[in-house]
Structure formats: structure tokens, C-alpha cells
């Protein structure tokens, strides 16, 4: 099963890593081939699992109370390009 150039184009957008070189495509083909082994397993009637903790219902929503904040200075420190309190990206 070959990965069409169309799919590859489509992929680069969300992945944002260019992989135009042949090696990248080959690697992807191998990865897909490897993953195809999954289809040997009969999963009829099996529900997909999101979290191993599903029985414990621990994913909760906490109260909408502000407990910490105002870290603007610290957070901006690691950015290379900034203006006042904004991160700056090239236009376009």
C-alpha cells in the first residue's frame, strides 16, 4: 500500500515537519506496514480504551476558581521574539 503524494502533502500540514525526502516516505510505509498487524486481532464487541483509570472515574472538573496566575514575566522569558506581552510570529 503506497502512501500517495496527496496524503503526504496532507500530512505535512498538521505534522509541520517536512519529510519530502525518500527516506521519510519509506519510513512511513514501514510504519504503516508494521501497524497493519493490528488487523489480525479480532476486536468485535470490544470498546476502545481511553484511560486505564476509567473504572476509577478520576478525571474530574475542578471548581472554576483562580488558584494561581500572573506569571507573565516568567513565561515570556523563554520566548525569543516578543513585544510587550505578546509572542511575535512572522506575518503570513
Amino acid at each position: 500500500q503506497n502512501v500517495s503524494l496527496e496524503v503526504l502533502d496532507h500530512l505535512e500540514h498538521p505534522a509541520l515537519v517536512d519529510f519530502r525526502d525518500l527516506e521519510g516516505v519509506e519510513q512511513l510505509q514501514k510504519a504503516i506496514q508494521f501497524a497493519d498487524q493490528l488487523h489480525e486481532v479480532n476486536t468485535d464487541g470490544v470498546e476502545p480504551i481511553d484511560s486505564v483509570l476509567e473504572d476509577r472515574w478520576c478525571l474530574y472538573l475542578r471548581e472554576d476558581d483562580v488558584t494561581e496566575g500572573n506569571y507573565t514575566k516568567e513565561l515570556l522569558e523563554n520566548a525569543r521574539e516578543k513585544v510587550e506581552e505578546y509572542f511575535v510570529a512572522p506575518p503570513g
Binding site: 502512501v3 496524503v7 496532507h10 500530512l11 505535512e12 498538521p14 505534522a15 509541520l16 515537519v17 517536512d18 519529510f19 521519510g24 519510513q27 512511513l28 514501514k30 510504519a31 504503516i32 508494521f34 501497524a35 498487524q37 493490528l38 488487523h39 489480525e40 486481532v41 476486536t43 470490544v46 470498546e47 476502545p48 480504551i49 481511553d50 484511560s51 486505564v52 483509570l53 476509577r56 478520576c58 478525571l59 474530574y60 475542578r62 506569571y71 516568567e74 513565561l75 522569558e77 523563554n78 520566548a79 525569543r80 521574539e81 509572542f87 511575535v88 510570529a89 512572522p90 506575518p91 503570513g92
Partner: protein, 517 residues
């Protein structure tokens, strides 16, 4: 033991800190550390010393030198994940588990080396270069090395640490610290622990906070603990486990730290031996050790049964899909805007993102991102991602069934063989290696179960081999109790390193194994 020594004043925290720092310098060739936080460590040690003088240490961990894998955020200290993407990134905060250690008075010596973004099983694929297994320089290994006919280059046949927490494992193994944090997504704490002859604990998913641990696979990652003995691992676990409001995937039950009893009677124990873990490619040595261990339990009166985990062989494929998918998502945050590397390209936001990511990530990371995005495409989502999630349930259920049948703990090897020489290891690519090496450790991450690798014996080549125990969810006490019993039976030898002998420290001498509990 060292904790007692600190309390009794036989050694001071600053002395201990200085010894460790100097040992780190003299074992620099191991490349275990990425960053050494000398100044802050000494300050922490001084503060600890004050507390001991007043007779008010914070606990067992006060003054104990530790190291942390470089994928945990550490305030004020560079956190790189061994990637160009995060070079120069100074964390603005401490990961919860790091904070907890510091709150207990532990002395943070530095950040340890790893595979880039914790992807790999050798600790060979980071931008700072590979980590060398301290056992490469042990008398035990050197004695067994076949001398080469031409001039022997002691540098050429060093062995890998395993990965991805290789730096942490090497740091603990070479005595530069008393405990280290690693991470475990597919075996990354247990694998290097086995190769470096130290204890590697993977806690139950949800027991320890992941807040501040730069994520790989959110549904499988856990912080890992590396120590020289099981008791130490229990102590560290005791100070780190528990609900964290900053990590909503930590369970809310109250966690009570425990001490491990000295088990003498194993007759009520049921040990399961999963037949599917007898994989092709496993060295006959390891097979023999596994068998010997099973016999050990049986002779001591435990019930040893063969069990089946039928979906084991699909765990690597399943992991491959789920891991790449989650990685694709998690790596999306690295775009050069808020932190980390940023490309100089200024044509457009997208081209800047793309260039930044091409420059910042190595091939392994990019490959996984690409694959992951493929499996997440709308046309593939059901076929691959959802399918993998279904297979994951089957894998997890295999364990549930086995534990329900009365088995308390599973016993398996941790790795397929002892540590490979670096020159051999790099002959295959990262993905192939990971697929081979993760096979025994991966399923525990799929099912979220606790697992521990205990150093068992030395191989024919004089290198450590570990065996793995997998326990029931949140039953770390039982798991560690069994591991401790086993550790006592096997009496794994201490590494004989020349560099350490020269540092004639009385705390290191005349102890069977240097531990702090």
C-alpha cells in the same frame, strides 16, 4: 544507611554533596549528566546541614543527593530532553515530583542524559551523545572481555546503558547519587535499570504526578524511580506518590507511605510465569536465570504457575500506533514561539514552524510525528487509532484475568539479553531497537500496572541482568515486598569501579550495597 550516617553526624550533607559532585567530574566519560547544578546543590546541602545541626531534618531524604532525568522541569535549571528543540530552555517551574523531593530536603545534583524526548531504548539518540554503562569499566566486565590481538582500546567496547533513562541509571549505578528520577512509557526506567544493575520501579499509572514531566504518551507515561536497593525505592515512592491537583490523571485516594516488611514466609504467594514472555531472541542465559528464579520461589514454598497473556505479541504494534499518535499531538506544542529553539526563517508563521521543527527534532522524533499524524487522519482514525485502543483493552484484560485467577505477582525477564556494546547497538535503527527491546516491558505500560526490575545476576560477560515483577494496580506494597525478598535471595554483587575506589569514603566502604534507607 547513609541517612542514618547523616543523622549521627558521621558525614555531613555538604561533604556528601561534594563527594558526589567530584565523583560526577571523575566519571564524566560516562556522559550520564547533561547539566550539573553545582551551586544550587551546595546551597541545598548547606541548608540541610543546618537542619541536621538543629536536630530537625525533614525526613529520610534530607541531604540525600539525587539526580533527575532531563525531561522533568526543574526551576532555574536548563531542561533539554536531550533535544535541540529545548536547548537553552530554563524551566520556570519544578515538576511536582521534583518539588516533592526538594521539599523533603533532597539535594538536586543535576539533570541526566536520555534519548531525545525519551524516545529510544539505548540512551544513544540524544543531542549530547550516548550514555556509557558504568559496568563497561567494572572489573567484572573487564575480566571477562576477550583481549584484542591489536592494542586494546578500552574505549571501543563499552556497552550501552539501555534507555531511555540511561543517564539516571548510570548515575545511580556509578554512585554519583543515591536515587534518580527517570520516566517510563514503554520500559524506559526498567530497561536501563536492568542493564546497569540497579532497581528500576515503574509505579501504577495515576499514582505519581506527571505535572512537569514533559509528556510523550499521556495515557502511559509515569515518572520512574531508580535506586540501588528496593527499600530505597519504597522510600522515594513514599515521598512522591499521591494525588496532585495539578495532574488530573492522578487518583484521589489517599496514599499512605509504607515500610517494607522482611518477608520470611512466601508460602501464601502465587507467582505467575507468562508463557508468552518466552520470546524468540531471548538469550539462553536470561532464560536460565528466569527459570532459576521461578525455582527459587517454588523451593521457598510459593505457588508458581504458568499463565497466559495471549495478546502480548500485539503490544508492540499497539504501542507503535498509540505512541506515535500521542507523540504527534504532544510534540505539536514545539513551534518556536513560546520557548525553545526558533528558526531564523521569517517568511511566514508556518514556514517558521516547519523550519523550527526540522531543525529542532531529530529523525526519530520527526518519524514518529509523521506516523502518528498518519494514523490520526480522518480516513485512518477508526482503522488504526481506535483499533489500537481496542487491542489495548484486550491486552489490559489479559492481566485482569490472570490476577483474578489468584496470581499475586508476575515474574518475567526485563530485557532479552545483557547490555550490547555500543558499536553493535547502533547497527540497527532506533525504531527497530525499540520494538525489540520494549517487548518485555511495554505491556505493563499498556495496562497501567506497576512493575519493577531487580538486579539478579551477572552474565557471562560480567554484565548485570535484571528480572521483572509486575504487580496489581496500586499494590506497590505487595510488589515491592516480593521484590525485596527476591533481592535478598540473589545477593547481586556490587560494581567494582576503580574511580569509586579511589574516593576512599567511609560511607561507601564496608556496606554491602550503598543505600540511604
Amino acid at each position: 544507611q547513609v541517612s542514618v550516617a547523616l543523622k549521627e553526624g558521621r558525614v555531613t550533607p555538604t561533604e556528601l554533596c561534594q563527594r558526589c559532585l567530584s565523583l560526577i567530574k571523575s566519571t564524566k566519560f560516562l556522559n550520564a549528566y547533561v547539566t550539573i547544578a553545582e551551586e544550587s546543590a551546595l546551597k541545598q546541602a548547606e541548608a540541610s546541614e543546618e537542619r541536621y545541626k538543629r536536630g530537625q531534618p525533614l525526613g529520610v531524604l534530607d541531604g540525600i543527593p539525587i539526580a533527575v532525568k532531563d525531561n522533568f522541569n526543574t526551576a532555574g535549571i536548563e531542561t533539554t530532553c536531550a533535544s535541540n528543540m529545548l536547548r537553552g530552555y530554563i524551566s520556570p517551574y519544578n515538576a511536582t515530583v521534583v518539588q516533592k523531593l526538594l521539599d523533603q530536603g533532597a539535594v538536586l545534583l543535576g539533570k541526566t542524559n536520555l534519548d531525545e524526548f525519551a524516545m529510544g531504548s539505548g540512551s544513544t539518540d540524544g543531542v549530547f551523545g550516548p550514555v556509557r554503562n558504568p559496568w563497561s569499566y567494572s572489573r567484572q566486565y573487564k575480566e571477562k572481555s576477550v583481549p584484542k590481538s591489536h592494542s586494546e582500546d578500552k574505549e571501543s567496547n563499552w556497552v550501552i546503558t539501555g534507555g531511555s533513562s540511561g543517564g539516571s541509571a548510570a548515575a545511580v549505578s556509578s554512585f554519583t547519587c543515591f536515587a534518580a528520577l527517570g520516566s517510563d512509557t514503554g520500559g524506559s526506567t526498567r530497561n536501563p535499570a536492568a542493564h546497569c544493575g540497579v532497581v528500576g520501579l515503574k509505579p501504577t499509572y495515576g499514582l505519581m504526578s506527571r505535572h512537569g514531566l514533559i509528556p510523550l504518551v499521556n495515557s502511559m507515561d509515569v515518572p520512574g524511580i531508580l535506586t540501588r536497593c528496593v527499600d530505597d525505592a519504597a522510600v522515594v515512592l513514599g515521598s512522591l506518590a499521591g494525588h496532585d491537583p495539578k495532574d488530573s490523571t492522578t487518583i484521589q485516594d489517599n496514599f499512605k507511605p509504607f515500610e517494607l516488611p522482611d518477608l520470611t514466609d512466601v508460602s501464601k504467594l502465587s507467582i505467575g510465569i507468562p508463557q508468552e514472555y518466552h520470546v524468540p531472541g531471548m538469550s539462553s542465559e536470561i532464560l536460565a536465570l528466569w527459570s532459576k528464579a521461578a525455582d527459587l520461589f517454588q523451593s521457598a514454598g510459593a505457588k508458581v504457575v504458568e499463565v497466559s497473556l495471549p495478546h502480548t505479541r500485539y503490544s508492540i504494534v499497539c504501542y507503535h500506533v498509540l505512541c506515535t499518535a500521542e507523540v504527534a499531538s504532544n510534540m505539536a506544542r514545539f513551534d518556536g514561539l513560546e520557548y525553545g529553539h526558533r528558526s531564523d526563517t521569517n517568511e511566514s508563521t508556518e514556514s517558521m514552524y516547519a523550519a523550527t521543527r526540522r531543525e529542532g527534532f531529530n529523525d526519530v522524533v520527526r518519524g514518529r510525528i509523521l506516523s502518528g499524524n498518519y494514523f490520526l487522519l480522518k480516513q485512518n482514525y477508526e482503522k488504526y487509532f481506535i483499533k489500537a485502543q481496542k487491542v489495548r483493552r484486550l491486552i489490559a484484560n489479559d492481566f485482569v484475568k490472570v490476577f483474578r485467577s489468584g496470581v499475586d505477582v508476575l515474574l518475567t525477564p526485563t530485557t532479552l539479553s545483557d547490555a550490547a556494546p555500543y558499536v553493535e547497538f547502533i547497527k540497527e535503527d532506533n525504531r527497530t531497537r525499540s520494538a525489540q527491546d520494549d517487548i518485555l516491558t511495554q505491556a505493563a505500560n499498556m495496562a497501567g500496572l506497576p512493575a519493577i526490575s531487580v538486579p539478579t545476576a551477572l552474565s557471562e560477560r560480567g554484565l548485570p541482568v535484571g528480572l521483572q515483577f509486575i504487580g496489581r494496580s496500586f499494590q506497590e506494597q505487595q510488589l515491592l515486598t516480593v521484590a525485596k525478598w527476591f533481592e535478598k535471595q540473589v545477593q547481586f554483587p556490587m560494581i567494582q569501579l576503580e574511580e569509586v575506589k579511589r574516593h576512599d569514603h567511609d560511607v561507601f566502604q564496608d556496606q554491602k550495597s550503598t543505600s540511604f534507607s
